[in-house]
């Protein structure tokens, strides 16, 4: 039986406001980045804003009516609880080998990176968090253009098992184009002068030279590493 009145409008309002607050918390703490890209930030704040307005409006309703819509508000409670579930997110450390790296799926949506005149002159590429996907795409698409460039890049170092070479690794990151449903590991193969067991599975920054390699299906990039050091793991492993 539905009875609305007394505390029920307030209860309705609290459900919607709790949902709004949990969304704001989710976005403000950056946890949303494990599920969607930063481009959704504004949309999620918008959603929280709408929920908040609904909550305030519901809580301030003075006129009592018989029929209650409280059952529908289960959804707000559901969303609020969903936000706080103890998820285990996909990490590069969960990848067993570089075979999982999917470079073929990289697409035109990723912005290409423009080199400054000085970088072209010095033949240097400094890959940042924001330009990782762009550089991976550019190097895989046209490695000839950047052959012999010195590159500095960070990511997780994973042992390659398919190459048959002892010193071959792949530097990888997780790329999200839309949401958690489409997270892909992307990266660039690297060759060390000798096996680097201590850096395997670790988060590293390496400097090396870009070389063009050949396979039956075409060319692909490889970094011949000159220098390697451990670096700090970013809070969110994904790049967007």
């Amino acid at each position: 039986m539905n009875k609305k009145g007394g505390l029920e409008p307030l209860f309705e309002g609290i459900c919607a406001i709790a949902c709004a607050a949990s969304l704001v918390y989710f976005v403000a703490t950056g946890q949303y980045l494990y599920f969607v890209t930063p481009s959704m930030k504004g949309f999620l704040y918008f959603a929280a804003g709408v929920f908040f307005i609904w909550g305030i409006y519901g809580a301030l309703q003075k006129k009592r009516s018989y029929r209650s819509f409280l059952k529908r508000f289960y959804l707000f409670v559901f969303i609020a609880i969903l936000v706080f579930l103890p998820y285990e997110h996909m990490k590069t450390s969960n990848l067993t080998s570089a075979e999982d790296v999917a470079v073929n799926s990289l697409n035109g949506e990723i912005e290409e990176v423009l080199l400054s005149e000085e970088e072209v002159k010095n033949r240097e590429i400094d890959v940042t968090e924001d330009t990782f996907a762009g550089w991976v795409k550019m190097l895989w698409n046209d490695v000839h253009a950047y052959e012999d460039y010195t590159i500095t890049i960070s990511g997780r170092l994973v042992k390659s098992e398919d190459a048959g070479e002892q010193n071959q690794y792949t530097l990888i990151r997780l790329y999200m184009s839309c949401c958690a449903a489409d997270v892909l590991p992307i990266g660039i193969p690297c060759v060390m002068s000798e096996p680097v067991k201590e850096y395997e599975e670790a988060w590293v920054e390496l400097t090396g030279v870009v070389k063009c390699c050949h396979k039956e299906e075409g060319t692909y990039p490889k970094i011949y590493v000159k220098q390697i050091k451990k670096s700090t793991e970013p809070e969110v492993e994904y790049i967007f």
Binding site: G5, F43, F46, R72, P86, S177, A181
Partner: protein, 518 residues
């Protein structure tokens, strides 16, 4: 002090007095006589004629116009006489909101506890005349806990039950012969919704706490939840945009204005729908509430269907995402748009020539009747806020369910494992479309997933994914069911699949460059 109130409603000669009489007879354990308040112009309940001290008769006109005076009169009879039980016989044409205003607000706030609302239905009259009787009967049906009806012919009864469910899903609908069961139920105390909500929240929290125990680490449960959360966060803001746009149309735009925008000839009307789909940046989650709004506003079903089918495929956001996902290949964008528009128009034409009036039953014959708050009284802004909120909550349930199923499919990779099998082109195309249906991806973001299938499938098969997916998928089907008959939704789904399949197949053979086009 709390007074139990039972409200008996229904149009003239529906049997309200008879019901009240028999109900009173069954209440042998009541210490004081119940007060019967009759907001009627009909006969006074037979057994009460001799006990006028227990009867209060209020003319319908007074109830409509003199709220404060009537409230005082009721206060004198209910509170001053220390009544335990009040039975109200509510006139069948009076809006239920008048009763709410009288008994739940003002000096009565917190005093009257409406235990049950019972609607006695005259099936033939309701079937024929409900839409002419105004908002009174509709508001009563929508607020009824129990609906009693006299058994009638098979089809008539079936039709009646179906229509009642459209207006009030929660009411218990019983034939009069089972009214004793109802009378017994009225004695029981029922659990409140607030209690249910608390129990639900507690169970959810316990499950959340148990998640690390049973589904922690990189278990399938965790992965499904992560994908589910991703899809939900992606879908909710766009669904909100959709319901806000749809509520704006519903509350602020008159049916006449909307109808003026759509030409009377079918093709012209469908072209306007396509143009609207091109201009509005709405994905499939948002296009469904707008579609429902358009239908309610009297836009022809075929035009509304064309809009719903075209908008998620040809809107600016989808165009851009497809353009980037396919390496800035304009041909893919044009193909997707062209095939999308062609399919949408063919589906619209099919609806125009095969659609039955019954298809509109959730919105048409009962003209703009819904339980989404749009019938509430108040300023337009407050109706807009209430309408958008309730419509969101109504449709979002299906979004939650649909995305959850989709997340399971994605994580179990059933679709992908089927796709690696060797099939002929038509089967590959059908497989891609089936996959689009199961994955239920947002149309604004499905291009990138479609691109990843290009390794295994030719573009012409992937085009099936890109054209059909935004038009119909699990969550769309579920969301449509919140507003339309199941048979209509199933037929639309099948027609959409067949049309998209044939259009893409024809394009593959004649235009794209053959079945082997990569």
């Amino acid at each position: 002090m709390s007074v139990s109130v039972i409200v008996v409603m229904g149009i003239l000669d529906a049997g309200k007095s008879t019901f009240i009489n028999s109900y009173i007879k069954m209440q042998g354990d009541i210490k004081t006589d119940p007060l019967i308040i009759q907001f009627e112009q009909g006969d006074i309940a037979v057994s009460l004629k001799k006990k006028e001290k227990n009867l209060l008769w209020i003319p319908v006109k007074e109830a409509q116009q003199q709220t404060e005076e009537i409230r005082k009169k009721l206060y004198m009879r209910i509170v001053m006489e220390k009544r335990q039980l009040v039975i109200i016989e509510w006139n069948g044409l009076l809006s239920f909101s008048i009763l709410e205003e009288l008994l739940l607000n003002g000096i009565f706030a917190g005093i009257c506890d409406i235990k049950a609302t019972i609607y006695l239905a005259d099936v033939p009259v309701l079937l024929k005349e409900l839409k002419y009787l105004g908002q009174g009967p509709v508001s009563q049906i929508m607020n009824a806990d129990y609906i009693l009806y006299r058994e009638t012919k098979g089809n008539e009864e079936k039709e009646f039950l179906r229509r009642i469910k459209l207006l009030n899903k929660e009411a218990k609908v019983l034939p009069v012969s089972e009214s004793n069961q109802l009378k017994r139920e009225l004695k029981k105390e029922k659990q409140s919704d607030a209690m249910g909500l608390c129990i639900f929240a507690s169970v959810m929290m316990i499950l959340a706490l148990l998640l690390p125990v049973f589904g922690g680490g990189h278990s399938k449960i965790n992965d499904v939840l992560v994908v589910f959360m991703g899809l939900m966060l992606q879908g909710i803001p766009f669904l909100l945009l959709g319901v806000i746009l749809s509520s704006l149309i519903q509350v602020f735009v008159s049916s006449e204005t909307i109808k003026r925008l759509f030409p009377k000839n079918k093709l012209g009307s469908m072209l306007v729908a396509v143009l609207a789909g091109f201009c509005l940046p709405v994905c499939d989650c948002a296009s469904i509430p707008i579609f429902k709004s358009l239908v309610k506003k009297g836009v022809p079903l075929y035009a509304a269907v064309t809009f719903m089918m075209a908008a998620p495929v040809i809107n600016p956001v989808v165009i851009l995402s497809t353009y980037y996902a396919f390496h800035e290949d304009v041909r893919v964008v044009l193909l997707r748009m062209g095939l999308g528009v062609a399919s949408a128009i063919i589906i619209g034409l099919f609806t125009a020539y095969s659609g039955k009036k019954k298809d509109l039953e959730k919105s048409g014959p009962l003209d703009a009747l819904c339980s989404c708050g749009c019938m509430e009284e108040g300023s337009r802004i407050s109706v807009f806020i209430r309408h958008s909120e309730l419509e969101f909550l109504d449709v979002a349930r299906y979004l939650v369910f649909g995305t959850f199923i989709s997340a399971i499919f994605q994580e179990t990779q059933i679709g992908e494992s089927l796709c690696v099998c060797e099939f002929s082109f038509p089967l590959k195309l059908a497989m891609m479309m089936l996959l689009a249906f199961l994955l239920s991806l947002c149309s604004s973001a499905d291009a990138i997933v479609a691109k990843s299938f290009m390794v295994e499938f030719p573009l012409s098969a992937v085009m099936g994914f890109l054209v059909f997916g935004p038009m119909m998928d699990i969550k769309n089907v579920l969301m449509l069911q919140s507003g339309f008959k199941k048979t209509f939704v199933i037929r639309l789904c099948v027609v959409t699949f067949l049309v998209c399949f044939l259009v893409v197949l024809a394009a593959a053979v004649f235009s794209i460059g053959g079945l082997g086009y990569e």
